[in-house]
């Protein structure tokens, strides 16, 4: 059988024979298409496109037809055309009794899809609120019965196993589903769909370790993908880099994945440049453009976002991603009602598109409609418990409602999901500060700084806390680090707190009788509007005192010296464990 030959060929985790890989990709794309598995086919084709074209002699031969295939050919051809027209029941009807693998798969698959389609239609008009959640794909059980029989008899090929796995997953039989998907990956490693399903079912690194996966080059793609999903960005980026080095440099799939990975670790500039590159290579691409628009939004790049929105709208305005981009665009223009409308539209198009729930929550927050925001965030969490943005958003909502203790729980959840994200830590710190739990607050700010502070506010806040607690030395340390941070970044952005830092330092040095440092800082103070007068006054005082006690001041040892260089490379990619904030962290 053709499949068996292919499995043998697909073995080996190396990329030395790109031609062979290309051949495999082309043939699997063809086979996926024959079975109506559009997405897997697309993925394989995209990847194949990234490789050098093959000469005519090396093109894979058309799949060999067996006796069975020939017998079912007519029914298959008819049913396939119905299938392509989304007439699933009709396709299934004509495929009844077909024995060949291809026809059988299409038969089962169209039954499955018909059930799914009906389920989606049912949800719209059900007989009451309680029944709404009960709408089930009626076909699933029957499919499971038949497929499990075939599975026991070992009559399922790779595609059949994949379908069986999907059915099991839909029935919430996760464990069985994982086993079947792993089996499917072993039988037919080239089928990306099975790997992708596996990605969705694996929730942590430990689970990944205990899977026995086939040792093929596809595994590398899978690992890279799942590392991205599990927020193990550094590992993911490494994998993708090695894939690019192996010869897939032109693959738009890999480029987009890398961009998403950079987005996840909030390396905005890199992500933006990669997305721009991607747009150049693949201008009509809609996938991942929502992520791109998020980045543009964060950087407030209005013209670019507007261009992207219009462009996508021209390509296809009824795509989830398009709606999302337009929503972001309106949000950036502070037209939040419209933004919410577009996110709602995105959800109508795909109720499982969880990003939109969170974004909608953000819009409602902007509109000060806190209850709607809470609803949206809760929905997002229901779809995906690990959506840290929604937890964070809930925390923010309650913070706005002036419930600092209440929102602690939500921030903590967010922090647990993203232990190395400074924003949650700063938010936690602020809450603790409001609750007058200064020790915890200090812990949070310090950790926020340690994991790499994005907004550069943690240190100032920490310094102010120390100031409050009369720990002047620590406060000065923090201000120094803060100033170093700001200047080492080379950002000329007006930082409001820089002046405060210099003012404090000037006072501090003045108290320590370190006249040189004090006057240096006071001079810096003069550069800012709000501290100019104070700086001048301090300079005068210093001059006075200096003239009085020239000798005594020199031999006072400095309590500390400026650290030459602070570790500026606090890359937030490092995985750290969540902060243990107090004995009770439910």
């Amino acid at each position: 059988m053709a499949a068996a030959a292919m499995v043998a060929a697909a073995g080996g985790g190396d990329f030395s024979d790109l031609r062979e890989i290309k051949k495999q990709l082309l043939s699997v794309a063809e086979r996926s298409r024959e079975r109506g598995l559009q997405h897997s086919g697309k993925w394989a084709a995209e990847l194949a496109f990234a490789l050098e074209p093959l000469p005519l002699s090396e093109l894979p031969p058309p799949p060999v037809l067996t006796e069975e295939d020939a017998r079912d050919l007519d029914a298959y051809t008819l049913a396939k055309s119905y299938f392509d027209l989304k007439e699933y029941d009709r396709a299934a009807y004509f495929l009844q009794g077909c024995k060949s693998q291809k026809a059988y798969f299409l038969y089962m698959y169209s039954r499955y899809l018909s059930g799914e389609k009906k389920k989606d239609d049912e949800t719209v008009d059900s007989l009451g609120p309680l029944e709404k959640g009960q709408v089930k794909n009626e076909a699933l059980r029957e499919l499971r019965v038949e497929l499990s029989k075939k599975h026991k008899a070992q009559e399922l090929d790779g595609f059949g196993l994949y379908l069986y796995g999907v059915v099991l997953r839909k029935l919430d039989l996760v464990k069985e589903a994982i086993d079947v998907f792993v089996e499917a990956a072993h039988v037919l490693p080239l089928h990306w769909g099975a790997w992708l399903e596996l990605c969705n079912l694996i929730t942590d690194k430990e689970m990944l370790k205990f899977l026995s996966l086939p040792d093929t080059w596809m595994k590398e793609f899978f690992l890279a993908h799942i590392y991205t999903e599990l927020q193990l960005i550094e590992e993911a980026l490494q994998k993708y880099q090695s894939l690019i080095d192996a010869g897939f440099s032109k693959s738009t799939y890999i480029i987009s994945q890398i961009a998403v990975a950079y987005h996840n670790i909030r390396d905005i500039d890199k992500a933006l440049s990669i997305f721009n590159e991607l747009r150049k290579q693949d201008p009509y691409r809609i996938e991942n453009m929502d992520t791109f628009s998020n980045l543009l939004y964060v950087r407030s790049m209005k013209p670019e976002l507007s261009y992207l929105a219009h462009n996508l709208c021209e390509i296809d305005k009824y795509r989830v991603e398009t709606c999302c981009v337009i929503g972001n665009y309106y949000s950036l223009r502070s037209q939040h009602e419209k933004a919410a409308l577009y996110f709602q539209r995105a959800l109508k198009l795909n109720p499982r598109y969880l990003g939109a729930w969170t974004l909608m929550g953000h819009e409602y927050m902007e509109m000060k409609n806190t209850s709607a925001a809470i609803q949206a965030y809760r929905h997002a969490i229901e779809v995906n418990k690990r959506d840290y943005r929604a937890w964070y958003g809930l925390g923010q909502t309650y913070e706005i409602l002036k419930m600092p203790f209440y929102c602690l729980y939500y921030y903590r959840r967010a922090h647990q999901l993203r232990p190395n994200d400074s924003r949650m830590l700063v938010a936690l710190g602020e809450c603790y500060e409001k609750l007058n739990q200064l020790v915890e607050a200090k812990k949070c700010y310090w950790r926020a700084y340690a994991v790499g502070d994005v907004e550069k506010m943690a240190l100032v806040k920490l310094a102010k806390l120390h100031e409050q607690l009369n720990e002047s030395e620590q406060a000065a340390q923090c201000y120094i680090k803060y100033i170093q941070d700001i200047y080492s970044c080379g950002e000329v952005v007006e930082h409001l707190e820089v002046s405060t830092a210099f003012r404090y330092l000037a006072q501090y040095y003045f108290k320590c009788k370190l006249w040189d440092e004090a006057s240096a800082c006071a001079q810096k103070c003069c550069a800012f509007n709000d501290t100019r007068e104070e700086g001048k006054a301090l300079l005068r005082q210093i001059l006075q005192l200096r003239s009085q006690g020239e000798t005594s001041s020199t031999d006072v040892a400095a309590p500390f010296f400026l650290p030459a260089s602070l570790s500026a490379n606090n890359t937030p990619t490092r995985r750290v464990s969540p902060l243990n904030l107090s004995s009770v962290t439910p």
Partner: protein, 756 residues
């Protein structure tokens, strides 16, 4: 006294109506069951005058629960109607059968005809009557259905009817299984049976909205009143998860899940559920803005308050305080005095954990009365009484206060608080050492019919007050030497409050205390020692005290003394007067055991003063006994006899059997000692009466199986008989003494010197 109150400030959704939220709108949906009801109504209208008066009345009484109740299977409905009027049941069935086995148009026709009942000059149904409203609701809901929904309703009706039919004809179906197709289907089913079974149990059929509501309210009230009857925590959680899977918007389910998690002390999932509930509640609160409820701000306050309650429950007092502050702040900002009152009572509970202060509480009671919150007010009064009782305030005033609050309870039928009040009286009487009064109060509560029973039909017997009362009852019985009865009560407690339930710790403590006492009486000190660890785990102060007692009994005086001194300082700090007096008594005993009677005296006097001040009568009389004993040893038996008269009465009236025995023994000793100076004639009389007293002491000791004391009494009695020259009786006593003496090892303290 156990803190009856703390747990009562919980469950705000259930008691007191703090949070009433109806997440579901009033929207009705047509279901097959409701269609059956509609058929019943129309048949009722059609039958009209043919129905007898009795049948008519029965049917009318049936209708209301049917209209408001959850959906039920057709067979049950039919049975219910049959009980009222078999004739009507038949015609309803036929109408349904015609509709279900007919076509879609039959159903459509049926709904078209329904609205006719309103028309005409003399309509069958009044538009605004209960039935009329129901009919109109249904017609409206039906008219709103889209085409496909109508069809779905029809198929649902068919299924509803067929399910009933199938049940009837189950036997016939089995006969038909012989044809091959059916067999195939059967086989498939069997193959699946294994793995699918679990799944099917998990989702044992989705509940309809009313059913779900009914399920929730039923389980919630069971959790509150009789936890053992509610579903087990695991299975309840499973049901709830199932419910939430089908309808994530069902907020009350989250609250129940919170209560359920509290049962198993799961801080993580309970927090999660609680917050989830309020997140959901806020949504619906926003919708109901129109009915003047100032929107979701209200639920925000209660959310924070509930969070405080949760943290308090798990002993995170600092967190609880922070949450409470938040609740208070929000409530203040929005001028919600009712919420503020709740906060205030909570503040009291939290403060109580840190230091005693009744200022807050008094304030709370006043304000609660002002805002018309009888529940909170009398809960406050009860807390206040409890606190004052510990602080040694005048007993008559306390009882007065309780009586007044009782009036309030009966007026507002707060049955829960009535129970608590009685339980509290039991505890207070026990504290004052009036065991007969305590016994009477305990029996009152147990034999009282709860008000709730009349209302809902749920026997409210799983609350903390019942646990407290039963525990006291067990101890009282054990004190009187009825150990079998005590263990019977404990067994009952164990059944009613399974070990993992909230109030189980109470009976565990009492159980171990009773066992400890028994072991001490029997002189099995190693057993007692092993029980100490268990007691310490449940109540550390009690544990330390018991440890000291064991050490004392094992003659490790210096260790015992050290421990007692530490305990004394601690108890004085936390103002646990009862324990202070007991420790003082214990210390005094240590002194006289070491023959330092002169040092023991001031300690005893201190204890006596304290006991008098706090009107702890029983402890006072026990102190007097000790004092008398010291005086006896110091050679002033006349004085000892004098003060003994003061103590003997309360001891005999309220005391434990062991104490009664000791007291009588002591009286006899004093009589003998003071008889030394009498004239011979008088002396004989005194000795005779001493022998009688000893006899009484003997019966008391025999009751609680105190062999050591029994031996001492026998020895003493033998000596007295010897002095009186009554040889036969003397020999008898001596023989009994000899028997006991051989059984028991001799202990270190000289016989005559021991009082206890």
């Amino acid at each position: 006294m156990a803190s009856v109150h703390e747990s009562l400030y919980f469950n705000p959704m259930l008691t007191n109506g703090v949070v009433h939220a109806n997440v579901f709108g009033v929207r009705d949906w047509v279901t097959p069951h409701k269609m059956a009801l509609l058929v019943l109504l129309s048949e009722l209208g059609r039958a009209g005058a043919q129905l007898g008066l009795l049948e008519r009345r029965r049917l009318n009484r049936l209708l209301l629960p049917l209209l408001q109740g959850p959906d039920m299977a057709l067979s049950r409905l039919r049975k219910a109607i049959e009980e009222c009027c078999p004739h009507l049941a038949g015609s309803v069935h036929i109408r349904l059968k015609l509709m279900a086995e007919g076509e879609l148009k039959d159903m459509e026709q049926f709904f078209d005809d329904l609205s006719d009942s309103f028309s005409g000059t003399e309509p069958e149904v009044h538009k605004t009557s209960v039935v009329g409203l129901f009919l109109r609701h249904m017609i409206l809901a039906y008219n709103k259905l889209s085409f496909s929904q109508v069809y779905k309703l029809y198929t649902a009706l068919q299924q509803y009817f067929q399910k009933d039919e199938k049940k009837d004809g189950a036997d016939e179906n089995e006969m038909e299984l012989t044809n091959p197709e059916e067999l195939d289907g059967k086989m498939e089913k069997e193959e699946l049976a294994g793995p699918l079974r679990e799944e099917e149990i998990a989702c044992s059929g989705p509940l309809s909205q009313k059913q779900a509501e009914y399920f929730l309210s039923q389980q919630a009230s069971l959790l509150k009143n009789d936890e053992t009857k509610a579903l087990a925590p695991a299975s309840l959680q499973k049901e709830l998860n199932n419910l939430l899977k089908f309808n994530p918007d069902f907020a009350e389910a989250h609250y129940l899940s919170y209560l359920n998690s509290l049962r198993v002390q799961d801080v993580f999932s309970s927090t999660h559920s609680l917050l989830h509930y309020f997140d959901r509640l806020i949504l619906t609160g926003a919708e109901s803005k129109s009915n003047g409820d100032e929107g979701y701000g209200r639920s925000l306050r209660y959310a924070a308050l509930n969070l405080a309650a949760l943290h308090c429950r798990f002993g995170h007092y600092q967190q609880a305080e922070l949450a409470l502050q938040e609740a208070i702040r929000i409530a203040q900002e929005s001028n919600d005095h009712v919420c503020l009152q709740h906060c205030l009572s909570w503040l009291y509970i939290l403060e109580q954990k840190i230091f005693d202060s009744c200022v807050l509480l008094e304030h709370s009671v006043n304000k609660s009365l002002h805002f018309g919150l009888p529940y909170l007010a009398s809960l406050g009064i009860q807390s206040l009484v409890q606190q004052r009782a510990f602080a040694g305030k005048a007993a008559n005033k306390l009882m007065d206060a309780l009586k007044d609050s009782d009036l309030l309870h009966w007026k507002h039928s707060l049955s829960e608080l009535i129970d608590i009040s009685i339980a509290q009286k039991t505890a207070i009487w026990r504290l004052y050492g009036r065991s007969t009064m305590a016994l009477q109060q305990a029996q009152t509560l147990l034999s009282m019919n709860s008000l709730e029973a009349v209302n809902v039909g749920v026997q409210q017997n799983n609350t903390e007050s019942f646990a407290v009362v039963l525990c006291h009852l067990a101890e009282l019985h054990a004190e009187q030497g009825y150990f079998a009865a005590a263990s019977e009560i404990l067994k009952h407690l164990k059944e009613r409050f399974p070990p993992n339930s909230q109030h189980a710790q109470l009976w565990m403590l009492f159980d171990q205390k009773i066992q400890f006492e028994r072991a001490m009486n029997d002189g099995r000190y190693h057993v007692a020692d092993s029980l100490v660890a268990g007691i310490t785990a449940l109540n550390s102060i009690e544990g330390v005290y018991r440890k000291a007692i064991v050490l004392k009994a094992q003659n490790q005086m210096s260790e015992a003394h050290k421990l007692l001194q530490k305990l004394l300082i601690h108890c004085q700090k936390i103002k646990n007067t009862e324990m202070v007096i007991r420790v003082l008594l214990c210390i005094a005993e240590l002194y006289w055991r070491s023959s330092c009677h002169t040092i023991a005296l001031p300690v005893l006097l201190q204890a006596l003063a304290l006991a008098r001040e706090y009107s702890l009568q029983y402890l006072a009389s026990e102190t007097v006994l000790n004092l008398a004993f010291s005086q006896l040893i110091l050679g002033i038996p006349e004085q000892a006899l004098n003060i003994l008269h003061m103590a003997i009465e309360p001891v005999l009236a309220h005391g434990a059997v062991l104490d009664k025995g000791c007291a009588m023994f002591l009286v006899a000793k004093c009589q003998v000692a003071s008889a030394a100076s009498y004239t011979p004639q008088k002396k004989i009389e005194a000795l005779e009466s001493a022998i009688l007293n000893l006899n009484e002491a003997k019966t008391y000791f025999a009751k609680v199986d105190c062999k050591e004391q029994l031996r001492d009494v026998l020895y003493f009695q033998a000596r007295l008989f010897h002095t009186l020259g009554r040889t036969q009786e003397r020999n008898k006593c001596a023989m009994l003494f000899r028997q006991l003496h051989q059984e028991l090892p001799a202990h270190g303290v000289p016989l005559i010197n021991a009082f206890k």
